[in-house]
Symmetry: C2
Subunit: 149 residues, 2 copies
């Protein structure tokens, strides 16, 4: 890919800080973190390292690279968790620093078929990821990125 954007940081942006989450994969442009969300245990986030607001603030090569990481994460999450559906989203209304939500959805999860930002549909106790599943996510992201290259 092209040279990464200048690593602009914002002193008030939580995503410009070192992440408090487990990092599954990282390069010079972005990191994949596992949120360990209690309702959505395999919920990952792909975070640009630079403080960039919109995808169209990046050049094409940078966009293709970020999306290849998003899709490698999707692939790994599908392999490890076999969800009913994958949800992908880049909102950033509260934190305008480019990040992608990669959310495995199941028909019995808390909000399905609504957005996980929408109305709750049921109580559901999700099983936390095992250490093996976390390790497998790391392995499968690397494997999926090789086929993206």
């Amino acid at each position: 890919m092209a040279l990464p954007p200048a690593l602009d940081v914002s002193s008030t942006c939580p995503l410009c800080e070192p992440t408090p989450h487990e990092t599954l994969w990282q390069d010079h442009d972005c990191r994949v973190v596992l949120l360990n969300d209690v309702d959505y245990p395999g919920y990952c986030r792909v975070e640009c390292l630079a403080h960039v607001k919109e995808m169209t603030d990046l050049d094409k090569a940078q966009r293709v690279h970020i999306m290849s990481v998003v899709f490698a994460t999707e692939q790994a999450v599908r392999q490890v968790l076999q969800p009913s559906k994958i949800n992908l989203a880049s909102l950033g209304n509260k934190t305008p620093h480019m990040h992608w939500h990669v959310i495995p959805r199941f028909e019995n999860d808390r909000h399905f078929p609504n957005s996980h930002w929408g109305e709750t549909m049921r109580v559901h106790m999700a099983e936390p990821l095992s250490a093996h599943q976390k390790q497998q996510l790391k392995v499968d992201i690397i494997k999926a990125l090789k086929t993206e290259a």
Copy 2:
């Protein structure tokens, strides 16, 4: 891009039908439609023509192409409407046929800073798009796609 996927259709899928919405742009793989959402007048959707469920069901060239249309739509929406933020999302829990939401968000819109699937924050009467703005979206999508090629 590579050859498009076989144009699988599902007899029960609304996105396999001809669209009821205004089409801003279309090729052999996908179409960009304007939803004319009363709360979000510039809300566009990029819809794959084939009945494909996940982005990772497509090959890499197909993914890059679909995303280049999503980003061209984002670019056009930014130019015409100058929103505070762009929201991009591919959910498909209710309609598992690949489509991308491209939503211009404003600080005074109905849900900001929440997801537009989330809690309502205020009453807001949004101005419908003018015929000129619709035409400009069409022109700007084509222009942005040229720089994506």
